[in-house]
Subunit: 433 residues, 2 copies
């Protein structure tokens, strides 16, 4: 059998420990499939003494993880520390500069520094692989970069955050409100103690920016992703969406517009019942790629968790073992050939749009909203709800517009800005077309 | 830029012509992603004069496709002729014996001769690739062989025939019967003039046998696949399933039993509404792999058609261009390491089961059926229908059993065999657990 592939592991949190466990249980199987032995030779983490439920004694220990890359007995550095910068980035840079392959699950680092790291990998003729950074155990990076490699991808969108999907689908099933379900999700380990990155859409935006680069052959541009979260979605919105035949899902959507600009946005959307994404419940991820030859491809599975993430990291390592150095460009085409597209102006994009206003319960409010819509040229398809007053005398008014440019909706909301009739800014969610 | 990868194309039917068109339209994109030029250099088909809507003038023509492999200017032979044997198999053998890579969309050939061809490829150190043979444009071979490579796959199942899924979902939506919808599917090009291979489950069985080999590390054993089709499913069965909260889908199911035996079967099953496969409509394919680390992965997309199939063929070619000779074993592990498992005895497998009897409309028939069930130890969970007589005085009696070993259901049906009360053999469909 060929020479072993020697692995250094930076980070021994749940995913790192999960990877050690994966090699313990499935090591023989993996070696048969990889065609050569795979050996973890060295590990590093903050706290050496912590019990992680796996046996670390066979591996050399480095107190300083950034030093793993300097070890002569290492071919691949696996970075599972997390964080866009700091030790993760230093470890990644060191590994690639030393000509070692880098495998990472770090979406924030790739979203922010992916271009620099890919250039480094290309310059050194080594590999940068990050299947685990997007959609956990689902082989979607591979699916797009290799499986759909012959296609012009026209649009990519999906459910990229399992926490948000758990919360939305649980709200849907139980009728409970956001805060209550979030607390439950935290108890179950589906949401972090500080859920900001998840529920505000930042985590999904990291993944979307990475997917868009691979799908469209463009440079990653995380700063151009429009980001909205689910914190303002109420049980009443879910009920109204359901009555219309829709479910609310936090979607990341990217497409390359005909004018050569890149549209990227994360926001809650209304997804029609017949669409496969409407049926995705719980902490699941799902990615749809619309391809010119392959048609609509859907990849679905567990979006997070130690097992799925370790599975994706190990798949990258097995690829390295199988293909030696011949792994191709990290973003499918060399960084120098990726296009730097300007951000699309979302204003001209058309959609039917769900709007929900929280208003004071007094005469004239609906007339005021309707007048703003009229003045901005937004035609209301249906006023779907004017609820009974909640505590505080507020009522919810929900409506769906006819298809119209987003700029008109924005203008209508601008006209209403500061109106004493509105208790909070309106909630705006497009209907997935 | 590196040397071009030189391709010979055997077969210029819809998929072959589709592949030529794909290279025409997306050639520049593909070359950027592959990192080197890809050139079709020679083609062969039965009829040189036929207009296929693509320009074949840049390519050398071979009257005898089995001679393509002998050309010194060819690196990869793409076989798109079809048929398990005949010119397709000769072309494949010649290509591999000549040390050239073989890419094929031919599920029948791989299901019947995949082991021989893979051994040949391994002996010559060349590649055998067949992404397009299973589930059209969906990168499911890649997803299992590479994306899930670190996992023990516990079960694999899915919708593997688009024609059957189109027919079943259209019956569901329109309430029409099998024959009528089949005729419509033939008119739309979703079903062949001779639909036998599709509607009787043989096509799905070819794909299942290939998937099982990759998923479980076993030798392909097509002859051990239990095969049932959809020709006996009636509109009334669909209505009854719907009332129970199920949809009828033709599923291929394979698992490796704990006793080291391989279960493989294609048959119509009742899939619960909440399951992602229940939502798969039209000529779509979808494959679920249950993995020990990655969890439940779902791959879904167009299961056939020239565009999707050409996309999968081209993805295999791009892999060859990217990875040179280092492509790994065709079935993930070398053929010599694949296990030859005995076929599972289905009798001990338990399921809740839908049974539909077509019976004479006279007293005592239900008592006779119920007695057979009792005598075989099958407990009836619900008698869900005893319809009004149809033409000819027959009535349909449908029921669902409690979970029990399949052998008991078989025994109950044996007890009823030859009974003058039954107008036709009962229709048996397990409920997906």
């Amino acid at each position: 059998m060929a020479e072993p592939l020697r692995i250094a592991l930076a980070g021994l949190g749940t995913v790192g420990a999960g990877l050690v466990r994966l090699f313990e249980t499935n090591g023989a199987l993996i070696e048969r499939r990889a065609g050569r032995p795979l050996r973890i030779v060295a590990v590093s983490a903050r706290d050496r003494s912590k019990d992680r439920g796996v046996d670390l004694s066979p591996f050399a220990w480095e107190d300083d993880m950034t030093a793993l890359a300097a070890r002569a007995d290492v071919d691949v550095v696996v970075e599972l520390v997390g964080g866009a910068d700091g030790p993760a980035l230093t470890t990644a840079r060191n590994a690639l500069r030393a000509g070692k392959a880098l495998v990472t699950a770090n979406k924030a680092m790739i979203a922010h520094h992916g271009m620099e790291l890919a250039e480094l990998a290309e310059a050194k003729g080594t590999a940068l692989k990050f299947e685990a950074a997007v959609a956990g155990g689902i082989p979607v990076i591979k699916g797009l970069r290799e499986g759909a490699a012959a296609n012009r991808i026209e649009r990519i969108y999906g459910i990229l955050n399992g926490t948000c999907n758990y919360i939305l689908s649980t709200m849907e099933q139980t009728g409970r409100d956001f805060g209550e379900v979030l607390a439950e999700a935290q108890g179950l380990g589906y949401a972090e103690a500080d859920p900001t990155f998840d529920v505000e859409g930042v985590d999904a935006a990291h993944k979307l920016a990475i997917l868009a680069a691979i799908a469209f052959g463009t440079r990653i541009d995380f700063s151009a992703v429009g980001i909205g979260g689910i914190g303002r979605v109420r049980a009443a919105d879910i009920t109204q969406a359901e009555a219309l035949g829709y479910r609310i899902r936090l979607l990341g959507i990217a497409d390359r517009e005909e004018e050569g600009r890149l549209f990227q946005r994360v926001q809650p959307c209304l997804v029609p019942h017949g669409h496969p994404l409407a049926a995705v419940d719980g902490p699941t991820n799902a990615v749809v790629a619309e391809c010119d030859y392959a048609g609509r491809l859907l990849f679905q599975g567990a979006g997070a968790g130690d097992g799925p993430t370790a599975s994706a990291v190990a798949a990258d390592i097995i690829d390295l073992a199988r293909h030696g150095g011949e792994v191709g460009a990290p973003f499918s085409v060399p960084v120098a050939a990726l296009e730097a597209l300007g951000a699309a102006d979302a204003g001209h994009r058309t959609a039917r749009t769900y709007l929900r206003f929280t208003v004071a319960d007094r005469p004239g409010v609906l007339a005021e909203i309707a007048a703003a819509m009229r003045d901005a040229g937004v035609s209301i398809e249906s006023l779907i709800q004017k609820g009974r007053p909640e505590e505080g005398g507020e009522v919810l008014v929900a409506m769906v517009t006819h298809e119209c440019p987003e700029a008109r909706v924005t203008e209508a909301l601008r006209l209403l800005e500061g109106s004493p009739s509105l208790a909070e800014p309106p909630l705006v969610m497009p209907l997935l077309g």
